[in-house]
């Protein structure tokens, strides 16, 4: 019995160690440019419901979208990275932002889940606090977006 428990603990320990060495990332694209984000920062994906413009001074936050009985503010990630959204049927990425749920208009290509080795993730502080670093997913180096703090301190175009 002890041996069984020990084996189980060893097995769980190995599994835990493997998980500790991996990072779940969601990869999505905006105007053809690919971005990665930590899975736990994403609330969901839905069809883009169309937005209502808001006369706003806040950089990149200038619209609302409907969600159920309320609405979500929209962060214009395409504008921040000077990309042009040309998709006829874009998707809405709902983000778990520190100030409440936030919507981002992304390309129609459904976001993909990637298990990325920790060694392939490079966290580094740069000029833009909206970018956490980069990761290698699908043999491509992709910027990691800080979705929870998006726009909080970075008001500059990338």
């Amino acid at each position: 019995m002890l041996r069984t428990q020990l084996h189980r603990q060893l097995h769980q320990g190995t599994k835990g160690a493997t998980e500790a060495r991996m990072q779940n990332m969601v990869v999505f694209s905006v105007g053809g440019k690919r971005f990665a984000a930590r899975t736990e920062e994403i609330g969901g994906v839905m069809p883009w419901p169309g937005s209502t413009a808001v006369p706003s001074d806040t950089p990149f936050v200038r619209a609302l979208v409907r969600q159920e009985n309320g609405c979500l503010p929209v962060f214009d990630l395409a504008a921040k990275f000077n990309r042009l959204l040309q998709d006829d049927e874009p998707l809405c990425l709902v983000v778990k932002h520190m100030d409440g749920p936030l919507a981002i208009c992304i390309d129609s290509q459904v976001p993909s889940l990637h298990m990325v080795a920790r060694s392939a993730v490079q966290y580094r502080a740069g000029n833009d606090s909206d970018i956490a670093g980069t990761c290698i997913a699908g043999e491509e180096e992709i910027p990691i977006i800080n979705l929870t703090t998006l726009g909080v301190s970075s008001n500059r175009p990338a």
């Binding site: 209502t52 936050v61 009985n69 726009g151």
Partner: protein, 190 residues
């Protein structure tokens, strides 16, 4: 449920704010109607000077520009809203008058916290209607007066005092405009 909660629920039932909803460009903007003194056609407006209506003068303000909204040029649907309280009055052009709408206080949403700029001074919040989202203009900002906390509560309390069958007599719209407004699609968000 405790008595306190029950009482609160009873007191809060039926609290609502009446808004005048207009279009500025493609944006639906709502104004607490309590301070709407009239709606006139551009032809009745003075050129660049104040609008005089019913012995009261209303200084013009370019509300679309102040809200940083690209308004349309003058059309047959353009109207001038006369807006005032006891302290100050203003007149401003809108691209279209959508109508009057009563909105339950609980359905008025604050501007999401992600909006952190000057829009927080200009806009009190929003409400969602079946075919549009209306942004609520801060009536104090419209009149270029210092703002205050809980602005909408002032309008909620006053409106809640009216009887169900009583039209808000403080909304002193000219008779011709009232007839026009009665033909407009209006309703309530409940």
């Amino acid at each position: 449920m405790g008595l306190r909660g029950y009482k609160t629920a009873v007191v809060s039932r039926g609290l609502e704010v009446r808004f005048l909803v207009v279009l500025l460009g493609a944006t639906h903007v709502a104004f607490p109607s309590h301070w709407v003194r009239g709606i006139v056609t551009p032809g009745q407006e003075g050129h660049d000077g104040p609008v005089t209506w019913a012995n009261a003068s209303y200084a013009p303000t370019d509300l679309a520009r102040r809200l940083t909204i690209q308004a349309k040029s003058v059309t047959a649907e353009t109207r001038v809203v006369l807006y005032a309280n006891e302290q100050r009055s203003r007149s401003f052009a809108v691209d279209k008058v959508v109508g009057l709408i009563d909105v339950e206080r609980s359905l008025i949403l604050p501007l999401p916290a992600q909006f952190r700029g000057g829009e927080r001074e200009r806009l009190l919040g929003l409400f969602v209607e079946s075919s549009y989202i209306a942004l609520i203009a801060n009536p104090f900002w419209v009149l270029e007066l210092p703002s205050r906390n809980n602005v909408l509560d002032v309008f909620v309390l006053r409106l809640s005092e009216r009887r169900p069958d009583e039209f808000d007599s403080r909304l002193r719209l000219p008779a011709t405009i009232l007839e026009e407004a009665s033909l407009m699609p209006s309703g309530s968000v409940k």
